[in-house]
């Protein structure tokens, strides 16, 4: 890494100011940021520490307001929190599957949502549209692990495990910046490549995520399934989060099916989500929902296998949710 100035921000306002004064980055857990810097992909003159800002590392559950996850809550804390485990199991499951124990001890919820892409061409200094290059190396390259939905002109997959169940629960991101505060649904936090291939999130200079707010659980059931080649460290080849409401008539009342590891953003599957309403709890019904979730998938030369794989994960997630 090149050397830099390190400053502990004492407040959000100070952080915003520090971040905009010169080429800077904000550091939370640092588990992704330091890799980006060591690989020469980010060379900030200043690193602004957010961990010195009080009030960003609490998890608060309130039956009326729902779950508020401070951006600096570590993944370990999130995974182990009793209210999260009991009421939002998919979120706890996702947090517990990120990386490894050491990463979870330092990595934060906010950092996990804001982490940079893991496309190996992006990280490896290959020609890359996202980094301002001339073309996408994955399009006609080794795209075994790239996206099957929502790609073009960039075919990355979104690396965050946590984002998947959070979108499924309808979470919102709270943001603070030079022009004040705002809050957006998580699925609008991310920018699809067709809109702007060079940016992943809507954060403007000087803005930081302060919290993630999840609506009250209200009897919704959930599950998260992650498929990776190894049992630790690996980013998802594909993942699925389902959040559903069970009706008294033995059918599902609605919810969301969200896919991870298969699109440049956490992929809220609209038709599959709609089909949850009034769906039976049968294998056949789950199969239909899975088919709808992957409808319109456009595999690349090497990743057609992700289609049947993800469908099986959708079925599995639905099974897990209703059997929990």
């Amino acid at each position: 890494m090149k050397n830099f100035e390190h400053v502990d921000a004492r407040s959000l306002a100070e952080a915003s100011r520090l971040l905009t004064e010169k080429p800077s980055v904000a550091i939370a857990g640092g588990q992704d940021l330091l890799c980006m810097m060591k690989d020469g992909l980010l060379e900030p003159a200043r690193v602004v520490n957010l961990k010195s800002i009080p009030g960003l590392s609490r998890i608060v559950y309130d039956e009326a307001k729902g779950l508020s996850i401070g951006a600096l809550v570590t993944l370990s804390e999130l995974e182990e929190h009793p209210a999260v485990r009991q009421l939002y199991p998919a979120i706890a499951q996702a947090a517990g599957l990120v990386g490894s124990p050491q990463i979870r001890n330092l990595g934060t919820a906010g950092g996990n949502l804001c982490q940079k892409p893991r496309c190996w061409y992006y990280r490896g200094h290959f020609p890359c549209l996202r980094r301002g290059g001339d073309y996408c190396s994955a399009a006609a390259g080794q795209n075994r692990y790239h996206c099957i939905l929502g790609g073009d002109p960039c075919y990355m997959v979104h690396p965050s495990d946590l984002a998947v169940p959070l979108v499924a629960f309808g979470a919102r991101v709270e943001i603070a910046g030079p022009k004040g505060r705002r809050s957006v649904p998580l699925e609008e936090f991310y920018i699809p490549p067709r809109v702007d291939v060079t940016r992943e999130t809507i954060l403007r200079p000087g803005e930081v995520v302060t919290a993630i707010v999840v609506p009250p659980a209200r009897g919704r059931i959930s599950a998260f399934v992650k498929f990776a080649e190894r049992g630790a460290w690996d980013f998802a080849v594909a993942s699925v989060a389902v959040v559903v409401q069970k009706g008294e008539d033995g059918k599902l009342m609605g919810g969301r099916v969200v896919l991870g590891g298969v699109a440049p953003v956490p992929w809220l599957a609209p038709k599959a989500s709609e089909a949850l309403t009034g769906s039976e709890l049968s294998e056949a019904a789950f199969g239909r929902i899975a088919e709808l979730a992957l409808e319109g998938a456009q595999p690349l030369a090497q990743n057609g296998y992700k289609v049947p794989l993800t469908k099986s994960l959708v079925r599995k997630a639905l099974r897990m949710a209703v059997n929990a």
Binding site: N3, E5, P101, Q102, N105, H125, R131
Partner: protein, 200 residues
Amino acid sequence: MAEGKGGVSRRGFLKGFGTGVVGAAVAAKVRLGEAAPQTSPGWDGKVPVVLRVNGKEYRLLLEPRTTLVRAIREHLGLTGTKVVCDRGECGGCTVLMDNKPVYSCQVLAVEAQGHEITTIEGLVQAEELDPIQKAFVEHDAMQCGFCTPGQIMAAKGLLLKNPSPTREEILRGMSGNLCRCAAYPGILRAVESLAKKAQG
């Protein structure tokens, strides 16, 4: 010995060759707004850093880019903790920070201030090995030994939090440490033996 044209000092390196274009095929970096400076900041770049390691306080002068593992190894001479991948993907640099296992290559030394850091050297008390260290020797939970300090610190962190983990909990708790010699079964046996001891 090294006969070459010119010396290797700054002055004598190469006679001028004229202008040329950098030909290396390195694509653009992530844009941050204005271009980042090409060279190090004007001041010598160091800041005071106070680290508490193995119960002792150390006052150092470090560049902010110094990671905790490099501070431990190069400035404190504690070479038990290893740098293996330098990216937080192998566990060789695992230390305890406030009794939690972390990758010290992924922690800036300046940000380790105010925390209690424990390294492998901190487990040995007056040359008496910690029970985890003894178990590793007894069960031959190693081959080349390079991952061993990191494995032991991960095990220590696991057992401090949960003195009687199940097998699944041990596998999970140790899953952040690679062993290329794949002494995993021995490591599992060693940690399991300690879990059983705690139980009864």
